[in-house]
Each structure stands twice: as C-alpha cells, then as structure tokens.
C-alpha cells in the first residue's frame, strides 16, 4: 500500500495505463509540459513523450473529434477536459459521435475513449469552473458515466475506464484531489471491483443515503453525525452513474425503507430524479416514505461567496434525513 492523494492516485493510474498499452494516448490542454492545471498528468510527458501525452490546441471539439479519429485508427485516447464547464464545446462530438459510433457502425467501430472531467464546486473558483454536468451524459445512450471519490478508486477506476471498450465519462471530484488515502498499486485489473458496481461505504439500518464524487466524504460525516443522534445511515457510493448498480441500492432500501439522494448538480432532470423514480418503481412496497433529494439548486453555479448556499452540506443532508424519517425538518408542515 502507498499513501497517495487522489490526484497522485490518478497520475499513478494513468502512468500504469500508458505503460501497459502503447495505444493509450493522453490528450488535453496544458497536460504535457505543465502536467495539467491540477497536476494530474505531472511528469507523464517527460516519461512517455509528446506523442503519448499530447498538449492540444484550445479546442474541446477538436480534442474529442480527433480522439474519435484516433479510436478509428486503433488508439485508446484519454482526454482531459480542463474544467467541467469547458466541456460544452465538445458536447456535440461526445453525444453525436463518441456515444453513437459503435451503434451506427453496427458494432464495427469501437470508441474506447476516456473523457476525464474534474467536476463540482467548493473550491471558490471563477464561473464555469465548478459545474456538475454528469446528467447530460447519463442521459446519452452509448456512454458510461462514472465518478471516483477516493484515491484507491481513482487509481483503479481510471485504469478500468481506459481498458473499457465503451466510451467513459470519468468525473473526478476536484475538491478532493488533495485528500490522501491508501492505494494498492500492485492490484490487478482482473481482481478489482468492477467499475459498474456501487460501494456500501457505511452500513446502516434506518436510511439509505446515495451519492457520488465529492459528496461521498460529506455523506460519511453525515452518517457519523446522525449516529450521534441515534439514526443509522447506510451510505452508498454510486461510483457508476450510468448504468446504475440498482441491485446494491435495492437491497439496502429493502432493509431501511428510506432513501435520500444527494448530489451537487441541480435537481431537475438529474441523477437523483432517475434514482428516486427507479427505486420507487422497484421497491415501492418497501418504502416507508417518499425518496428525498438534497441537491444543488436549479440555478447557474453561483459566485464563490454564495456557493455554500448552493452545495449540499452536512446540515442540509441531515435535514433531508429528518424529512425522510418524518421528524421535524425545514419543510415540516409544508406541502412538498
């Protein structure tokens, strides 16, 4: 075991992928000489050369579109989108090309492209630097969408994403880049927990709390705080946003009878909406209360001085837990 930050764990995973398969190429803005604005690709250009770790022009459509051509040629491109809010110029190439080419070519053309996206807020950044665009991609057939939450997962999941023959949107919780954890760099891909399987982070009996990315740590804190209040919370780290590992969530909800979902992204048409609807369909007779969503507001990401009024935090999630338990909460007496 090695102690690494999440960013360093990603760096180690990328290094391993580059070493294991010479068709893996990294592409992005400032990822080479600089090592990326978050230093996730630090040192990789020096080690593997400018044809494996490619500084590209400032053109997200260009990066994604040339990655499509490289995939046609047999490469496994790994793209870094510098910030979540910068992905939209590449949206067409992702949604119309990357996601659909396997289907459109009747399985003849594979798109093993990994699109890494630092996502989420809480770092006091300028606008367009704190967004959570995952639902757009979860809505798109042909893409897999995952989010890592700790260094161990970051190391293994980025390797799994690169090894996948399907395109993967790989969301990295940028405010957790500097959190340290134990990483087993000797672990093999074959033994790793599959990328599509959720993790039960803490076991509990009263409420199932589902989240992903940066909020997994917040959810752990919620479970600790709730326990002091006599409430047992089971935290599930979704890991895969598309497809969702419903088996793990269903099994939990059947025991707890209560579901809270939290994410930084807005509520409308979001991942929480899909989870709430699907779990209601699948576990209706086990539910003691309607599922509760604790999410960002349906607003453009606010200025830094306001982001604490946007992001779900420990107290807002505890309030949601009170609501699902029918205890006094901020909406007591208000029609939902």
């Amino acid at each position: 075991m090695t102690t690494l930050t999440l960013a360093k764990a990603l760096n180690a995973g990328l290094r391993r992928a580059l070493a294991d398969d010479d068709k893996v190429v990294l592409m992005g803005e400032d990822i080479g000489t600089l090592g990326g604005v978050f230093r996730v690709t630090d040192g990789l250009k020096a080690e593997f050369g400018a044809k494996r770790v490619v500084d590209t022009p400032l053109s997200e459509a260009g990066i994604v579109g040339t990655a499509v051509g490289l995939a046609y040629r047999g490469f496994r491109p790994v793209i870094e989108i510098q910030f979540d809010g910068f992905i939209y110029p590449g949206f067409d190439q992702i949604v119309a090309q990357v996601a659909k080419l396997h289907y459109r070519s009747r399985g003849n053309v594979r798109m093993p492209i990994t699109i890494r996206v630092p996502f989420g807020g809480g770092i006091g950044a300028a606008e367009h630097h704190s967004e959570s665009p995952e639902a757009y991609f979860a809505h798109t057939a042909g893409l897999r969408v995952v989010a890592c939450s700790d260094p161990a997962d970051a190391y293994m999941m980025v390797r799994q994403a690169i090894a996948s023959d399907d395109p993967v949107l790989f969301f990295e919780p940028k405010r957790r880049y500097h959190v340290k954890g134990e990483v087993d760099e000797t672990a093999s891909l074959a033994d790793a927990r599959p990328m599509g399987v959720a993790t039960t982070v803490t076991t509990g009996t009263d409420v199932t709390l589902v989240t992903y990315g940066a909020l997994v740590q917040t959810a752990r804190d919620v479970a600790t705080a709730a326990a002091e209040d006599g409430v047992s919370v089971e935290v599930i780290d979704l890991r895969s946003i598309a497809p969702v590992d419903y088996a793990t969530i269903e099994a939990s909800v059947r025991r707890t009878g209560r579901l809270v979902i939290t994410h930084e992204a807005g509520q409308q048409g979001g991942v929480g909406a899909e989870l709430a609807a699907s779990i209601t369909e699948r576990c209706f007779e086990f539910l003691e209360a309607a599922p509760v969503r604790v999410t960002g507001h349906d607003i453009p990401y606010p200025p830094a001085k306001l982001e604490r009024h946007h992001l779900p935090d420990l107290d807002r999630i505890l309030d949601g837990i009170d609501r699902v338990l029918g205890r006094p909460n901020s909406l007591s007496g208000v029609e939902a």
Partner: protein, 395 residues
C-alpha cells in the same frame, strides 16, 4: 470586383463566387480542350487515353447508380436519397487518387467514393432504406460511417491521420465535406489541429454552391481555398468538374501528406445538379438559368469531347459504358429485395461494446411486452419502414 457582384445584403453573388478565374486550376475546359499546366501535368502523366476512358466509365456508372437510387426513392423503396449528380468528377478524381490504405471520412453524398471502394449495392442502400444505421464495415472498405452532422468528420480524419503518422505509417486520411461545412467550428478546428501536428490529411471541400438553400456567398466572403493560408497550409482551388485537375490536385496533396509536410485544403468548384435530397425542392431557391449554365460545364461531356478530339471511338466507348452502367443499376435495384427488415430486438444491439445492465433490463422488458402478442413474433411489424422514415430526413 464591381458593385454588381454583391447582392442587396452585401454578399458576394453566386456569379462572382463561381466565375472561372485565374486561380482556378483547370486542365480540361468544358468543351474538352486540354490546357497544359507545368505544375499539375506531371502528376497525371500516367493517365493515357485508356485510363481517361476508365475515369469516364467510373463517372458514367456512378451517375447511373445515382439516378437509379433517386428512382427507387420515388418508387417508395428508399426513404431518402441525396443525389450526387454533377459532382462525379470531384468524387471520382479524388477517389482514384487514393491508395487502398488511405482512409476516407465522408459526408452522406459521397456515393462515388463508396463505388471506388467496392461497397456493395445493398450496403450502399440500407441506410437510405432505413434498415440500418450504416451499410458497411468501415475497416473492410477503408471508409468511415458516412457523416450526417455537418463537418464533424473533418476532425475524425485529422485524428486518424495523426495516429497513422505516430505509428510511422505513410497512409493518409481524406475528409470530404461541402461548402456549408466550412462554417462549422469542427472543420476550422480540424484545420488547426492538422496544421499544428502536420497531420497527413487532405481536406477535400466540394464547393457545390449550395447548402440546401443557402448559397456559398453566405458561408464565405472569399474563395474557400484562400482560408487555408490563415491556417498555415496550402489551399488549392480546382475545377471540380474536371476529373484530371481533381486527380492531380489530390495526388499532390496526398504526396505532401505522405512526406510529413502536413495537410492541404482542396476546394473543388462544382455544382449540385439535383436537389439537396429527394425531400428538397431547389426551384424555391435557384434559377433554371443557373442550372443551364452549369449543365454546360458537365464533368462527363468534357471528357468525352477530349477523348473524341484525341481520336477515340467514343460511340463504342459510350455503348460499352452504358451497358456497364445499366448492369450496375440493375444490380442496385435487385439489391433492394435482399435487404431484410431488421428484427425488432436488434434495436438494442451494439449500443455498448460491453454488457450493460440498464439496457439488458430494458431489452428484457420489451421482449416480454412483444411476447404478449398472438404470434409472439419479434418481427418488425411495420413492414416497409422505408417510406415512413422519409419525412424530415437528413439535412
């Protein structure tokens, strides 16, 4: 340029942008005269009268295939067809310049390229009949899935070319797109990437004067080839109805690509003689006079005139080629009957390369739904799907 060269909105008029001029490379005039060109002639020194006759044969056959497919659409066998009529020289001249290991990234109108690459008639038609999202395996023919999103393939060609160069191959990629596509960000971004990385790619723009109803003057204030200079690559403006000029220009660009010298933009000035697609009515936006003017610059007629002037028995050639073209058309028509309607549950196939729990569940549920019906059939119950896909077709 005179004030009359601009219309009321200040756009360059069609006449100004399509007028043959000094920078247009033309080796064979519309009346079949051969102009010597010191730069281009060496690149087609191997094209003797026999080879020229074969280029004519290619063009005549694809024109006949195109007419037959248009007829098949009118008869309800195809949902839609985007005719290539008028662009035979641009497509055959460039297509015959390619090596087998060069990779084509085309739009949806490059049927002549599919012909050059040996795509089977049923493979060519299935998309337009609505039975499949693509007709052929790109790796069997060195030709990507045709692109509907305007200009997106320019980036794919560039990425492919970058990869080929990184592997040490001297294969090239070629992107086909139209004048409308030159306004898309993807095409301009492809120019940037290709130039910066010296990618072995040829950008082949068929300027057919119209993007559905929008004239090229709306896309550009100047000749499209001139844009190349700003990106740091050569731009060549060639008579797209002159198969020899197109062949030479494409060979020059491919040679440059293979030498590691980078991309080239070729603007092949041509004309879409037919509608944008069979769903389009060009009478709403262009004149009969314009059509007549371009009919006089027909790409096939000038080759015949040149051959005749060179002493070739063109009556015999035309007879032989017509027989070949009729045979190709008959094969195309016969292929329709071999294209089966797809099984219902294939709607779920190939969305992912790897197992996907979510989609497997949806497929299972839909299978159960279908099994409720009397015969439990999972056959496509809509019958001939082709005509139902016609409305609002590809743009």
């Amino acid at each position: 340029m005179t004030p009359s060269d601009r219309d009321a909105t200040g756009l360059l008029t069609q006449r100004e942008l399509t007028r043959p001029d000094d920078d247009l490379v033309q080796l064979v005039t519309p009346t079949g005269e051969r102009h010597a060109n010191a730069e281009f002639d060496p690149w087609i020194a191997d094209i003797d009268l026999g080879a020229l006759g074969r280029l004519y044969r290619d063009m005549a056959i694809v024109r006949r295939i195109d007419a037959e497919a248009t007829a098949l659409q009118r008869q309800g066998e195809l949902g839609l067809w985007p005719p290539l009529a008028g662009q035979e020289a641009a497509q055959i001249g460039s297509g015959r310049a390619l090596r087998d290991d060069d990779f084509i990234f085309s739009s949806y109108r490059e049927h002549a390229l599919a012909w050059v690459r040996g795509v089977e008639p049923a493979e060519l038609l299935s998309v337009w009949r609505g039975t499949a999202a693509s007709g052929w395996n790109p790796f069997e023919h060195g030709m990507a899935v045709p692109q509907i999103i305007i200009g997106a393939q320019a980036l794919h060609a560039t990425g492919y070319a970058m990869g080929a160069a990184w592997e040490g191959s001297d294969a090239a990629a070629i992107a086909f797109f139209g004048d409308g596509a030159t306004s898309e960000g993807d095409v301009n971004e492809a120019f940037v990437f290709a130039a910066s990385f010296d990618a072995p790619v040829v950008f082949f723009c068929q300027n057919n004067q119209w993007a559905i109803s929008e004239p090229v003057g709306l896309q550009s204030k100047q000749h499209l080839a001139r844009r190349a200079d700003g990106f740091g690559m050569p731009g060549v403006r060639v008579d797209g109805n002159d198969v020899l000029a197109v062949l030479a220009a494409t060979r020059i660009a491919l040679d440059r690509a293979r030498r590691g010298a980078g991309p080239t933009l070729i603007e092949a000035v041509t004309y879409r003689m037919g509608p944008h697609t069979t769903a389009d009515d060009p009478k709403r936006y262009r004149t009969d006079d314009e059509l007549a003017e371009w009919r006089e610059r027909d790409p096939l007629a000038r080759v015949l005139a040149l051959l005749e002037a060179s002493g070739v028995d063109i009556a015999g050639l035309e007879r032989d080629v017509a027989a070949d073209a009729d045979r190709a058309a008959a094969e195309l028509r016969a292929a329709i009957t071999t294209i089966a309607d797809p099984e219902a549950l294939t709607v779920f196939d190939h969305v992912y390369a790897e197992p996907n729990s979510h989609l497997e569940r949806q497929r299972d549920h839909y299978t159960r739904y279908l099994s409720m019906f009397d015969d439990g059939s999972t056959q496509n119950s809509t019958g001939a799907a082709a005509s139902e896909t016609a409305e609002g077709g590809a743009r």
